[in-house]
């Protein structure tokens, strides 16, 4: 069963995915074919709708339609062929709890408990699908929005809130759950992931690494360099791009004029676009990509085509730059709803499951709320901690000056005692 992430995790080096040798060749082929659509058109600045739909959707891997119907896919079905009803319910539960957690964080920000929140609303399937494809010994390099992936890794959700509350700049132990710290500078982490994966290969391990990034990030030079390094060293890394259509106020056409998954071919590895609101599709495609990495076939780019349902962060006001009907159209593709439809149609769930989950959800919300409210402010001297591992004379000097300065208040009349 998919356990709440804070609970025990599977042992390292567990059995791994179910992949055979299928898929790979043909998928690469599909990628090649897709490239034919690449030839530049005279009028490249066509409307988003046209660009997004006309050219791109044919290549979208989808195992579950918005209506919750299971679509056959010779390529990727093998990767979810033996999924159990319990595991399906687990995916559903993960998505529901992640959404609940996310909503709680948003409201905590409104109440002033957090300085900022970056909501993942709408991206649950991309994150849970890919997150659940991972083995415990795999390593994750997230952006600042991968709350669902963190959930899958077993990072305590309350831990994620520290940096948004302003009590630390990260602060969980990346090696505790093989989940690196959130990275804010766009694109940087793709190189860390690549380097880490180069190390995995050097160690002769069969773990894989996954690097998350956004459609906006795809423009950063660092991301391109990570493609180059990973291809040249054949590093076992999966680049997982959540194309949520927006980089703050900029639509994806400000970053590229062709679908992003096509970027990979030019670097010599396959790219594939998956319906990012289809948790099964994301699970299958990510497993496929991870298996490639484990087999020594190098990097893969997965573009999860999804939508940022909310604002960029709680500081953002999307009404300034996008229409509500776009959001409405995507609501019909909701990742949670479609899995629910499928579960119900397959009789994998009963009323009690949903009732229990609702209760669990509320409990999670409560727990997070309480954890945040009781989160202590950091000690003032934390400023000087961990600047260096081996110390630095100037830091020592400044710490001492700071201590003397702080002490001077204690001496002051109004300081009392």
């Amino acid at each position: 069963m998919t356990v709440e992430s804070t609970a025990a995790r599977k042992p390292r080096r567990s059995a791994g995915g179910k992949a055979g040798a299928t898929g790979t060749g043909t998928a690469a082929e599909a990628t090649g074919t897709a490239a034919k659509a690449t030839g530049a058109k005279r009028a490249t600045r066509t409307s988003r709708a046209a660009a997004g739909k006309g050219t791109a959707e044919p290549q979208l891997v989808q195992l579950l339609t918005p209506e919750g119907e299971r679509v056959k896919n010779a390529e990727y079905d093998p990767y979810v062929a033996d999924i159990t009803p319990e595991e399906l319910r687990g995916l559903y539960r993960d998505m529901v709890l992640t959404r609940r957690f996310d909503a709680e964080a948003t409201s905590l920000q409104r109440q002033g408990e957090l300085g900022l929140w970056a909501s993942l609303l709408g991206q649950e399937a991309a994150q849970i699908g890919s997150g659940r494809a991972l083995r415990d010994d795999d390593y994750v390099f997230p952006t600042y929005r991968e709350h669902g992936v963190a959930w899958c890794r077993g990072v305590d959700p309350a831990n994620l809130l520290g940096m948004f509350r302003g009590v630390n700049n990260g602060g969980w132990d990346p090696n505790g759950n093989n989940f690196h710290l959130y990275t804010i500078v766009i694109g940087s982490q793709t190189l860390h992931a690549t380097g880490y994966a180069m190390g995995v290969a050097k160690d002769g391990a069969d773990s894989a690494v996954i690097a998350y990034f956004g459609d906006g990030a795809s423009s950063q030079g660092d991301v391109a360099e990570s493609f180059t390094f990973s291809a040249v060293y054949n590093a076992p890394v999966v680049f997982f791009c959540q194309n949520n259509q927006w980089a703050i106020s900029e639509p994806t056409e400000k970053q590229t004029r062709v679908p992003l998954y096509q970027r990979a071919q030019g670097y010599g590895f396959p790219g594939v676009r998956v319906d990012g609101n289809d948790v099964l599709g994301c699970l299958a495609v990510t497993k496929w990509a991870l298996e490639r990495a484990r087999r020594g076939e190098g990097p893969t780019l997965v573009e999860a085509y999804t939508y940022r349902m909310g604002a960029h962060t709680t500081s953002d006001d999307p009404t300034r730059y996008r229409h509500d009907d776009e959001r409405a159209a995507w609501e019909a593709k909701d990742p949670i709803l479609r899995l629910r439809r499928y579960l119900e149609a397959s009789n994998h769930t009963d009323e009690a499951f949903f009732v229990e989950l609702e209760a669990e959800s509320e409990a999670l919300g409560r727990r997070v709320r309480e954890a945040v409210r009781s989160m202590p402010d950091p000690d003032h001297f934390a400023i000087f901690e961990n600047v260096y591992a081996d110390g630095h004379a100037l830091v020592d000097e400044e710490r001492a000056q700071f201590a003397a300065y702080q002490a001077s208040f204690a001496d002051a009349p109004e300081g009392g005692n």
Binding site: L116, N169, I184, A217, Q220, S249, Y405
Partner: protein, 325 residues
């Protein structure tokens, strides 16, 4: 006709005026278009001047500055926005090796009228990379000019002058003062861009600052005045070049100098000011030049920034130390 407006609005008006009066002026950066920038500094500009003058760019700072250089070579005058201080570093190579040196490399045959706007500094409770003060890292580099206004009126005029300058100007905007209102007179005749200004006259000690710390120094001077200490306050306005003449004149009078900035003290602008003023005023100084600034540590999480940043007490404490010599 002077008008009271917020500092952010003053920059907006200044950009608007530049776009109106020179068709070669461009505004470019991430989210500067429809959104008007995350601080709304470019609000309404794309609507009025179109997408070819006010340009939403791909998310790539090196690309933004690199293409701005190319546009400048073609005769344009790009005003580039870097969304936050901590995000200028991907563009650092283009700024340091190309933008700063192109004019010299071409023996003067090309000019680089590029303004790089950077909202900088802390005090707004933001997450990592959103509160830094990296001005030293630009001032050390020949070929760049570095300025930072402290108030709305200066923001308006300094932006006009930066855009008119044929040199690249790194324009540091004190983001925590964006909402502070001040007089803006678009008819005024501004003084030189790189001249410091005495914002409060005094006799006992000189406080110098720029950008967000000017207001703090004014508050410190007011508080000190209640204790009978008469501080002079200088708004440097420019970090490269630094107006040492104005500082020197003040220090020859007050004989004591305290420099305040948010950036870490180590290798900060206070070091350069202390070194040079000590050389220029060696026989005048009654106390060493003292510095108040950030610590040698990464900018801390928001709940610690008050301790990290220079505040009233730390400034006054340092003033007392200097006066005690």
């Amino acid at each position: 006709m002077a008008e009271k407006m917020a500092l952010a609005k003053a920059i907006n008006e200044s950009l608007r005026k530049a776009l109106e009066s020179d068709p070669k002026v461009l505004v470019m950066g991430e989210d500067v278009g429809k959104l008007g920038g995350v601080f709304r500094v470019t609000d309404g500009l794309q609507k009025d001047f179109g997408e070819s003058r006010v340009i939403d760019t791909p998310l790539a700072e090196s690309g933004i500055v690199g293409t701005a250089i190319g546009l400048a070579l073609r005769g344009y005058r790009p005003v580039v926005e870097i969304q936050f201080d901590g995000f200028v570093f991907p563009a650092y190579d283009q700024i340091v090796t190309q933008l700063a040196k192109m004019h010299a490399r071409a023996l003067g045959k090309v000019k680089m009228p590029v303004v790089i706007r950077i909202p900088y500094g802390g005090g707004i409770g933001a997450v990592e990379h959103h509160s830094e003060s990296p001005e030293s890292l630009f001032a050390h580099v020949a070929g760049l000019k570095v300025v930072s206004p402290s108030n709305a009126g200066d923001a308006y005029w300094m932006m006009q002058q930066a855009i008119q300058s044929d040199d690249p100007v790194i324009f540091f905007e004190p983001k925590r003062r964006y909402w502070d209102k001040g007089e803006v007179d678009p008819e005024a005749i501004p003084g030189p861009l790189h001249r410091a200004r005495v914002v409060r006259e005094g006799t006992d000690l000189t406080l110098v600052a720029y950008g967000p710390m000017v207001k703090l120094c004014q508050e410190a001077a007011a508080a000190a005045a209640e204790e009978g200490k008469n501080l002079e306050v200088l708004d440097l306005r420019s970090v490269s070049p630094l107006d040492f003449d104005t500082i020197q004149a003040s220090v020859e009078k007050t004989r004591r100098l305290v420099v305040v900035h948010e950036a870490p003290v180590f290798f900060g602008s206070g070091a350069e000011i202390a070194a040079r003023i000590t050389e220029r005023c060696f026989y005048h100084l009654e106390a060493p030049v003292l510095r108040v600034g950030g610590y040698h540590a990464p900018y801390p999480p928001a709940r610690l920034e008050e301790e990290y940043l220079p505040g009233l007490d730390r400034v006054l404490d340092t003033v007392d130390r200097a006066l005690a010599y």
